[in-house]
């Protein structure tokens, strides 16, 4: 807000304070007497695993959720938020993990949307000047008339930060600010928020995994575990191991068992493949690679660099514009998805609910999605109901899908259970090639481990696995070979065991020279 002009806040003033915040949900204390404060000109990170209570705390600080106990002070005054609008009015800005922008509108339109001081008629010229001044101040280049869907993830995030600042935010809450960014964009973001602290802005990033990020920019860090504050440290005194221990409560092993399997003959061969996306842009450009028996081939990349169109083209859901695709030596470039299923391609799509399952169908009928074309289960066009039911019951038991019966509708399964069901359905066909597109996205730790182990098992059994993931650590841990993908191209194909995190990270961001130097 205007009243809180920069001059009135002195460096080191406590601008936001939470005392004894407690929030209970049935069977769970999400926040247990949490104390937290952030000072002007400070970056104070909050660290914690999934389920540690970060989201609840964040929602309380932003007025989305009301605490059961505890008090919040903003600029020294006790406040009682009824909705996020109250928090915004008092100068708190929130940048969510998922982008809250209208993709079809321009940067400027997004920044102006809902601004309380905007007149009936929009004064684009004046607003553009003001926003441009903000950009200059924080040394960030942005074309305000670009449509948001043209921007990179990092730029989109900056638009949200600018939007909050333009609305007068003095305290910025950032939810997982680096999770969808490539390494160079992360660097740029961290630089920018450090410049912002010069203006006595207070910045509170909530972070789950990226410990180096915390260490590199924050002044203080608060660690949450099971709803409680377990540590509050000056970052200078902290190390990565220390933070990890506090977060998890024990020593952490950064290891995943990866069996070496004899690499067999090529199952999938892709030659100079190009694919258009739904907007008519070339999303996959001249990609060539092969995946062999007993191999996991990992594609690492930030979302939107052509992984999705590539996966769809291989699964037969999208036309190949140029190039050839071969399965076990015979060309399948023009074959339908049905024909590809029959020939042994098993596709695990990234969207479990919208694509991978049919919510209004029972589990039996969901299992049927991979069996209805099989003459064993569907004779002369008539489905063998008994047989498919038996198979569904078998698979649900084998994959540990938690459900009262196979007649339950798929939409009632949790994300982890649904993914198990999809996995069960696809893997039970014993595909020659498994295309796993973001197979662990949004899953909890247990389900993630389950899925990863199933992929490793399939590899051991001799299948070829194409793993597409935005989680660099997952790709590094599972893959025998790694292709960093950037703007529709493979930047390189690296052997899995030796690939260094930094190199793959740089290549994912399209930086080639740097990788060469190292």
């Amino acid at each position: 807000m205007d009243v809180l002009s920069t001059n009135e806040i002195k460096h080191g003033d406590v601008v936001l304070e939470a005392r004894g915040i407690t929030k209970r949900y049935p069977g769970l204390v999400a926040n247990d007497h949490v104390d937290f404060e952030v000072r002007a000109g400070e970056i104070h990170a909050i660290l914690g695993e999934n389920g540690a209570g970060k989201t609840t705390l964040m929602s309380i600080l932003f007025g989305l959720v009301r605490p059961d106990e505890g008090e919040i002070y903003v600029f020294g005054k006790k406040v009682n938020f009824k909705s996020p609008l109250d928090a915004i009015k008092l100068g708190i800005g929130m940048v969510h993990q998922t982008r809250k922008l209208v993709a079809a509108h321009t940067v400027l339109e997004n920044i102006l949307l809902g601004h309380p001081k905007t007149g009936v008629i929009l004064d684009f010229k004046k607003a553009a000047e003001e926003v441009a001044r903000l950009c200059d101040r924080y040394e960030y280049k942005l074309n305000l008339n670009d449509k948001v869907w043209h921007l990179s993830e990092g730029e989109k995030q900056m638009v949200e930060i600018l939007k909050a600042l333009y609305r007068g935010a003095r305290i910025l809450i950032l939810d997982e600010p680096t999770s969808s960014l490539a390494p160079p964009e992360t660097k740029k973001l961290l630089e920018t928020i450090q410049i912002m602290t010069r203006d006595e802005l207070a910045i509170v990033p909530f972070i789950t995994h990226k410990l180096p990020v915390v260490l590199s920019v924050s002044q203080r860090v608060t660690v949450l575990r099971r709803g409680k504050v377990v540590a509050r440290l000056n970052t200078r005194e902290a190390t990565e191991q220390m933070l990890a221990r506090e977060m998890v409560g024990r020593e952490v092993m950064f290891n995943l068992e990866r069996a070496q399997v004899e690499r067999g003959k090529a199952v999938l061969e892709v030659q100079n493949l190009s694919v258009y996306d739904e907007k008519g842009m070339k999303a996959v450009k001249d990609v060539s690679f092969s995946v062999h028996e007993g191999e996991i081939f990992g594609i690492a990349g930030v979302s939107g660099n052509g992984q999705q169109p590539l996966a769809e083209a291989l699964a037969g859901l999208r036309k190949a514009a140029e190039g050839r695709v071969l399965l076990d030596g015979s060309e399948i470039t023009r074959l339908s998805s049905m024909e590809r299923w029959k020939r042994g391609i098993g596709y695990i799509p990234s969207e479990q609910r919208a694509v991978g399952s049919i919510g209004d169908f029972s589990l039996v009928e969901n299992i049927l999605m991979s069996y209805y074309y099989d003459d064993e289960f569907c004779r002369r066009g008539v489905i063998d109901a008994k047989k498919i039911r038996a198979r569904a019951e078998e698979l649900v038991a084998e994959y540990g899908v938690a459900t009262p019966s196979v007649d339950v509708l798929a939409k009632n399964l949790s994300g982890g259970n649904l993914q198990k069901l999809i996995l069960a359905r696809v893997l039970s066909r014993q595909p020659r090639l498994i295309i796993a597109n973001l197979p662990t996205q949004g899953l909890d730790v247990g389900a993630t481990e389950f899925v990863q182990n199933k992929l490793l098992e399939a590899k051991k059994a001799g299948a070829a696995v194409l793993l597409i993931s935005e989680d660099l650590d997952e790709v590094l841990a599972l893959s025998d070979r790694i292709a960093p993908m950037y703007e529709g191209r493979f930047m390189d194909i690296l052997p899995g065991g030796e690939a260094e995190r930094e190199i793959v990270g740089a290549l994912m961001a399209g930086i080639r020279q740097k990788a060469a130097e190292q």
Binding site: A103, A104, L112, L113, G114, K279
Partner: protein, 290 residues
Amino acid sequence: MWEFWVRSLNASTIFTVAALGEIIGQRAGIMNVGVEGAMLFGATISFIVTKTTGSYLLGFLAGIAVGALIGLLHAFFSVTLGGDQVVNGMGIWILGFGLTAYIGYPYTGPLGLPRLPAINGLSPFFLLSLLLAAGIWFFLFKTHAGLKLRSVGENPSVAEVSGINVVRTRYASVMFSGALMGLAGSIYALDYNPVWNYNFLMGWGFIALALVFFSMWNPFLLLGGSILFGALWQVSLNPEALLPNIFSRYIWRTFPFVITVIVLILMSTKWFSSRWGAARPEALGLPYEK
């Protein structure tokens, strides 16, 4: 020739006004495939009111009001109850088709009042439609309320976090949208073709719906499309005036419908959608739940 164009422009007025209504609703994310139904209500009620009271003004007001009420009904079904918007729209259409056939029947026949004044044959409502198109364009792209409305249609959850009341915006848009459809029906029944007959709109509402897709949700492109269809309609009504007598007049009557189908096909090709497809509001047709 002047007469032909005047009639074409007069016909285009009805397409324009109805389709502008649909644009407003769709820009806010609510599709109403029942344009025809809302127009039938507007046409029938305005006709009855004017015929019984002798007042054109009251007729138009009643037509607009009943349109807004139909919009309210559609908003209730689509926003509050969160039902399938296509089903709801079909409901609006069949309700309009069935109920107006019954309500209007005793009033079958001409209005029996002196015609509204015209400028050398050109209906003043044509000028109104131009003003409406310009006004709605300005509203959508130059005002804060228009930006809010478009945001609600593109991404309601984003609009919500920006402090916009999605439900209220959608209600207001759909009611205004219905009011314009009601007005379009009133213009048809009181000015363009003041002779009531059951289902006398003959699919004009569906053509208006198709024009919205054709217009890429842009009021000015819509004007062009409406005038084109107005002209086609005139050709089909009176082919002898323009073209040699190739077909029977019944076959000519099919022409606007055939053209609508052809235009729809062109618009749904890859060639078209890859160039202008992005104009479609992202959240169109999707119910919003917090």
